[in-house]
Symmetry: C2
Subunit: 466 residues, 2 copies
């Protein structure tokens, strides 16, 4: 993409104007500074020409006005924790960090709403509202450092989505700076509102390509009084999946139903000091919430359900420490994976939950066929599976095989009625696969909507659409 | 709008083609037939030129292709139960009834999804899934006859929104016929999905102006095992509203929290045989759901909360019959209102729930100022208030006063951080007020999106935008 970037060089005059808008100390131009804002969780890297840190929505608007006038690319950036390259300045230009816009403006317990700036760290927000007995459910794995603004851009999910839904379901309204510098307000501060087209949800999940959210109105819930965890192992993934179906059919919606396949269990067992059963075909980690009585009852019923579907072993966490110990297995997967290859392809397909065994069978077949190490884990409750293909990045033949396996996996997910991305989005890593799911007519509509918002194509260029 | 219509006359050739597409018996041209499809719940009337009843999405697509080619207006129609004129053929042309597309295609208990055609009656769908132990929460007051397609177009709400959200929250994906006849598929069949822009939620609530949904993928929940009702009366609306805040703060989210003001109570007491306390300033009707134990506990706590905030009287429904008797009061409001004037202006503003007393105080002041009868009731749990200004339609001065009162109410709702429509939409009755809430920049974006979908402006013309 550097050829596009070459056309997009920032003149000294423009740089001076950016400094005038944001202040000298909020504009970084030195190479060692720029390097830090050119990567994200994809580990890909693209050099920006300048990184700016606007202090408020007025400065964001002034920057966008200038960029639109000079036709300079702007890539908005939260914490850079995205998995598909949404925050990467693939065409160079300006990286606009929203880190300074990090105020929690208000938390309204009466109306169960909050208003925040985009740079608020999701995990900080969780803790802040929980101290007030309130609850913000979206919990992407990166929540310790990801920002609400980034979560809005990507429509982030997380384990609690099975019961509580995703970021989209908690965004009531937005203040958004458009690519031309105009500021719009979308949505409402009320539980209901149906005035005009739903610009709020159009912008949520648009991966920062339609506008820069500078203020976010969130819906909150009362904090559940109690939560409890149970872990169960099974001989086969089928048994685990049958258990998930039985749980849902019984009327219990746990707040998390996570699973790990045998490869993930083994990987974690080799990496950490746990007593995980490496002979188990699959493991379920289930968390329920509600009143103290309700969670007790649910855990009792889950024990019976797991036993009935033939669990090998069931562990109930009696204390917070035991709970943490059980969840340690799940949390250890990502760090443990690094031991298995210098490079991994990370996919996050979702399938209807009853189709998980079909998908895992497909992956077993692919492992045999390709000889590749493929480790799967994820959100069994909502069918969102994280598939990790471990590769030696210097082995071209292996890379080819990996690429072919990805195509097979995505095609099969779609065949099962699923989607190629449950929560990571398209960015740059999946845009080549997008036409598998989104046909030309829909793609053209999306491209035309992009042009309505951004006729000059300056905002987060090179994303979503190939 | 007839002048526009005059330009839109349907030629005999076009009529013949419509008959070729849908079949002779599925095209109505006689005046007595046309009359029936020119009205809706607004009681306004506009004559269409022809009413067609396509049998499947292929026929819908063929009609749209023809209409787009000939530049003929098409107004899609569900049950005509909308409150703002969404289904009215204000520019004449074709009314396209979706009544024949009324199949429930599947109900998938494992994955908690269903797939339906737009003409399925909401109440029929409720009963069908409930028989299978499943639950579709959106429950607009018209659900006995309104259709899921109409609910999608309007993003319908209802009393259960306080706990469960609105129609938008239960639509996973759509098959949509675009104004040019192209058929698109949006969204997913999974709980999560973030591939491309969210066309699904852009179309939900767009009041049939962007496309015609011909297939709808719905999210379901397990049916709660138990529900229970409590009614409490209060001396003042403030007390009732404080109680609502106290309930939410206590961590209980009832599935319904409905209220009636003194005028609504009196109106119903005069109309039906009930023992309602006409001296009460306000009445709350609260329904909770969950497990049997959970609802019992919640009802106990609600009794304490209502007593603590100074309820005049509390009634607990012990049986299904007692429950029905309590809800009769709420259900009787609309029919009872007809006794109080030949004409009513019906608004459905929403305010943050803690602002309900401010709004009801404003209405009390307006009553005194104008001498008009104004009756309010609605969804106290989510701040969505139905305001009914009763008028003599032959009294011009009263009509003027009513119009002025509406402006005052809408302005004040916005001042309180609310919206001019919680669940009825804009249609034709509120389009003149829309610029109060949606500023020019946002409006222009919406109009440009409309042009992306419908460059010839043939689909549901004259709606939303003035």
């Amino acid at each position: 993409m550097r050829s596009e970037f070459d056309k997009n060089l920032i003149s000294n005059d423009t740089l001076r104007k950016l400094i005038d808008i944001c202040g000298e100390k909020n504009c970084a131009c030195k190479k060692e500074e720029l390097v830090c804002y050119g990567y994200d969780a994809t580990k890909k890297h693209f050099m920006p020409d300048v990184v700016i840190f606007p202090n408020n929505s007025g400065e964001v608007a002034a920057v966008m006005r200038l960029a639109n006038e000079k036709k300079i690319f702007v890539t908005p950036r939260g914490a850079g924790s995205g998995m598909t390259g949404g925050a990467l300045p693939v065409c160079g230009g300006v990286v606009m960090s929203l880190a300074r816009l990090n105020r929690i403006i208000n938390i309204d317990a009466d109306n169960l709403t909050a208003e925040v700036e985009p740079g608020v760290v999701t995990g900080v927000f969780h803790k802040t509202v929980e101290k007030k007995g309130l609850f913000y459910p979206p919990d992407p794995a990166s929540s310790a450092f990801s920002t609400i603004g980034g979560n809005v851009a990507e429509c982030s999910g997380g384990p609690r989505a099975v019961k509580y839904g995703v970021t989209r379901d908690y965004i009531l309204g937005l203040e958004v700076v458009l690519p031309n510098g105009n500021v719009i307000n979308t949505g409402v501060r009320t539980a209901k509102g149906v005035v005009g087209y739903d610009l709020t949800r159009l912008i949520v999940g648009s991966e920062g390509t339609l506008g820069v959210a500078t203020r976010i109105i969130l819906k909150l819930l009362p904090l559940p009084a109690s939560k409890k965890t149970i872990m169960a192992t099974f001989n086969t993934m089928e048994k685990a999946s049958q258990t998930v179906s039985a749980i849902i059919k019984s009327g219990i919606i746990p707040r998390k139903i996570e699973y790990m396949d045998n490869a993930a269990i083994t990987c974690v067992a080799n990496f950490t000091n746990t007593d995980l059963d490496t002979k188990a075909g699959a493991l379920l980690l289930i968390e329920v919430d509600g009143s103290e009585y309700e969670t007790e009852q649910q855990i009792k019923r889950l024990n019976i359900l797991c036993r009935d579907t033939g669990a090998k072993e069931i562990k109930n966490a009696a204390t917070k420490d035991e709970e943490a110990a059980l969840w340690k297995a799940r949390r250890s997967i990502s760090p443990a994976l690094f031991k298995y290859g210098s490079f991994k392809i990370n996919e996050d397909i979702a399938v209807p939950r009853s189709k998980i065994p079909d998908m895992t069978n497909k992956i077993e077949a692919l492992k045999k066929e390709t000889g590749l190490m493929i480790i799967t884990f994820g959100h069994a409750g909502d069918g969102n599976i994280h598939i990790n293909i471990m590769l030696d990045k210097d082995n071209k033949k292996e890379l080819e095989k990996g690429k072919k396996a990805v195509e097979d996996i995505l095609d099969y997910a779609l065949k099962l009625g699923g989607t190629i991305s449950g929560e990571h989005g398209i960015g740059i890593t999946k845009s080549v696969y997008m036409p598998k799911e989104i046909k030309e007519v829909e793609l053209n509509l999306m491209k035309k909507i992009k042009r309505v918002f951004d006729p000059n194509g300056i905002l987060n260029p090179g994303k979503i659409f190939v």
